[in-house]
């Protein structure tokens, strides 16, 4: 694929206190690519994902989304942190889906989806409503628009969360273990919604434990362990023939 990558990470470091969680991450994601990030818990994959939309500040390295440095401005070789408003403007372009859904419990499904377009993008409420209804229909929840999150199952909540992120028309979607908090029988409906999104050409980074999804939908697979990228390649190849010992050890436990 030619041109600018959608996401480019170069030697990204992140520490919490004295614990180094990311020890130099290099990842490139092309537009339209579905990149699945797998690895044992504590390997830093969620932390990396949260660096992409600046929920976590990186300590060293560079991270670009669509050619723009995330969270910082470079003048000479010095980095200056962006102001709150500028960070918010960058985040508008990046959708995020959380493990614990994080829907707004005091709003209905429809209100959850309308909230950001109206409050942040200043869209016309009627138009935002039309689009929100279409999005909820797309994730199979046309009949749940008036329900509060507390009235929905986990799978339904997560699909509302996907619709909520899509309502901002993001150019990149981040999924942070979107099915890990779900009962097993509800995982499929969320993965289906994500698969449909991938087929529409959305650029996605998916932190997941669902190897089947990675194999079927992913364009690339990144295996992380202990804060570094151990192995990366097309999902089928990595899953079928891991080259690295650590990858082999991990896959033998989860497959």
């Amino acid at each position: 694929m030619s041109g600018e990558p959608m996401v480019r990470a170069e030697a990204v470091h992140k520490s919490f206190g004295r614990t180094e969680v990311l020890k130099g991450i290099d990842i490139t994601v092309a537009p339209g690519e579905v990149c699945c990030v797998v690895g044992p818990s504590g390997s830093g994959k969620s932390t990396f994902l949260r660096c992409v939309n600046h929920l976590e500040k990186i300590n060293a390295g560079r991270l670009w989304v669509d050619g723009e440095l995330v969270g910082y401005r470079q003048r000479g070789d010095k980095l200056y942190e962006l102001r709150e408003k500028e960070v918010a403007a960058q985040r508008r372009e990046i959708g995020m889906v959380f493990q614990r859904f994080n829907l707004f419990p005091h709003m209905t499904a429809l209100e959850n989806v309308i909230e950001a377009p109206v409050q942040v993008r200043r869209e016309n409420r009627a138009e935002a409503r039309e689009r929100a209804l279409a999005l909820l229909e797309r994730v199979g929840l046309a009949d749940k628009t008036g329900h509060y999150p507390g009235q929905l199952s986990g799978g339904q909540q997560q699909r509302v969360a996907i619709a909520r992120a899509l309502a901002m028309r993001p150019k990149l979607m981040l999924f942070d273990e979107p099915t890990s908090a779900l009962d097993p029988e509800l995982v499929g409906e969320v993965l289906d919604a994500m698969k449909a999104l991938a087929e529409d050409g959305m650029t996605m980074i998916v932190v997941t434990h669902e190897m089947g999804f990675a194999r079927e939908v992913g364009d690339s697979l990144v295996f992380m362990d202990d804060g570094v990228v151990v192995e990366t390649g097309p999902p089928r190849e990595v899953l079928a023939g891991p080259r690295h010992e650590r990858t082999k050890a991990f896959l033998s436990k989860v497959l």
Partner: protein, 302 residues
Amino acid sequence: MPVRHPLRWVAAAVMLVLVAMAVNTLVTNERFNWPEQFEYIFAPQIMNALYNTVWLTIVAMVGGVVGGVLLALMRLSDNPILRAISWFYLWVFRATPLYTQLLIWGSLGALFPEIGLGIPFGPVFVSWETNTLLSAAAAAALGLVLNEAAYMAEIVRAGILSVDEGQREAAGALGMSRAKTMRRIVLPQAMRVIIPPTGNETIATLKNTSLVAAVPFAELTFQAQNIYGRTYQVIPMLIMVCLWYLLLSSILMVGQHFLERHFGRSERGAARPARPAALLSSGREQTGGGGGGGGSGDGGGG
């Protein structure tokens, strides 16, 4: 045979005797002078004092809530100077007696006879006499508001901290500013933690208005003192004032009960009324623990 509770009977008998003695003295002790007391219960001075007590309570609570939200936001802010100011304010106002604070506000005129606007250490453009600017009513209201703001700040802060961090992250990831996240996402959810103790604060404030006698300002207790100063009917007069406080507190308690019921209900989304269809479908599709997943913790149940 049911279990016997002989002590209950003894306790009941003792209570009965005590109540009978109390009623007897209320009826037979002529020094209560009830006919005269009942004349005072709706007397113009008392009515006026009652009015003052009520509006002082309202002003103290409205001002206290506004000030409390500001102080709580300052306390939780990233700015260390704002945090320090808020901390200092709470420290001073919660560590000194309200009565003493009210005495200070009431006597401000003695220390600063005039208050003026101008350049610091430079010329003064306009000035007012302190006692005109800060009337007894204003001093009383100011004292109560400043004190109440300190207590409300802690309540609001607890409410804000009770909202799951994931809510702020989700709003931030959507590109919402922090101010908007606070107003649209966090504060509405914090309400269910803020409301119940605020009800208690309102009742406490109603009773605290009696302390503005320190200013001095003519609220209920102060007027009662004025009257018994003339009539020497101390306890009857105070009992009568207590009846007014009881009535006002009871009204507030009823209001608090309904507010708590309202907020306790809306927190459990599945039990929301007026959505029968929702109840039916969620009853079937609800999964085990999925309900709380949206960040709505538990809390207000008891």
